[in-house]
């Protein structure tokens, strides 16, 4: 398994830096361009969620990329986006719908739905020590 971790300051557009690394690593395992694009978008959303909602005192987002697979033929990319913020209850979140958002004052809150729609596997681990979004995509 190969692994790379970035520690990114919570500043505007840090998500773009994470998405560039995701692209480079996904390309290294010969993931198709359309799937790479989906990974990029999911990484952007996970980073933005951390930036906007974590209230982490260290103001950092940690993004770990793991290349998984048999021997010299890796076939899966796992990405963990972690913050050390206040955490949240994923089960307590209402699933956004376009009908609901069109009527609502607050139209945001789509991040997790987008991540779940674009990645093959998604797990949210959250508690008082922070949140980690673990997401994977096959090549």
């Amino acid at each position: 398994m190969r692994e790379v971790t970035l520690a990114l300051p919570m500043i505007p557009e840090m998500e773009i830096e994470a998405s560039k690394t995701a692209t480079a690593i996904a390309e290294s395992i010969r993931m198709s361009p359309d799937r790479i694009d989906e990974v990029r978008m999911a990484v952007v959303e996970a980073c933005i969620n951390a930036l906007e909602h974590s209230h982490a005192s260290d103001r950092e987002v940690y993004v770990t990329f793991q290349v998984l697979g048999e021997g010299g033929d890796p076939d899966k990319l796992r990405i963990m986006v972690r913050d050390t913020g206040i955490g949240f209850s994923p089960d307590g979140l209402e699933e956004p719908t376009i009908e609901g958002k069109l009527k609502a004052v607050r139209k945001r809150g789509w991040g997790l739905k987008i991540i779940r729609g674009l990645m093959d596997e998604v797990e949210i681990l959250s508690g008082a020590d922070g949140t980690t979004v673990v997401m994977s995509k096959m090549r």
Partner: protein, 116 residues
């Protein structure tokens, strides 16, 4: 690090096309909204967003596009999208935007359908 959005507008008879170039984040979404609302003030009720020059969006930017959709519904106007990357198109479907703002594969198809 900044990935800014450039916008150009093509005003045609009964329809205006907004072209985007770059990242649609919160600032990018606001720029599109500003252009769209200016066109509404000018009397255009049919708007096409051509995203050929945009390879990445985020949900904050898209939530501003939802505000534009809401406005178009309010005034009985039409908003459509064309030339999306497969990932942006998939994301719009995940969010349900396509139910309220049709997605067309190319500009010529979009213009023909939106004018009919």
């Amino acid at each position: 690090m900044t990935e800014s959005l450039n916008i150009t507008v093509d005003r045609r008879e009964g329809l205006a096309v907004i072209y985007t170039e770059g990242y649609i984040n919160n600032q990018g979404g606001e720029e599109i909204a500003k252009a769209a609302y200016k066109l509404l003030d000018e009397g255009y009720k049919t708007l096409l967003l051509n995203l050929a020059g945009t390879k990445i969006v985020n949900s904050i930017g898209i939530s501003i596009l939802i505000e534009i959709i809401e406005k178009m519904i309010e005034i009985d106007g039409k908003l459509g999208f064309c030339c999306l990357t497969p990932t942006i198109e998939k994301t719009f479907h995940i969010m349900g935007l396509a139910q309220y703002a049709p997605i067309y594969p190319d500009e010529a198809t979009a213009v023909a359908q939106m004018r009919s």
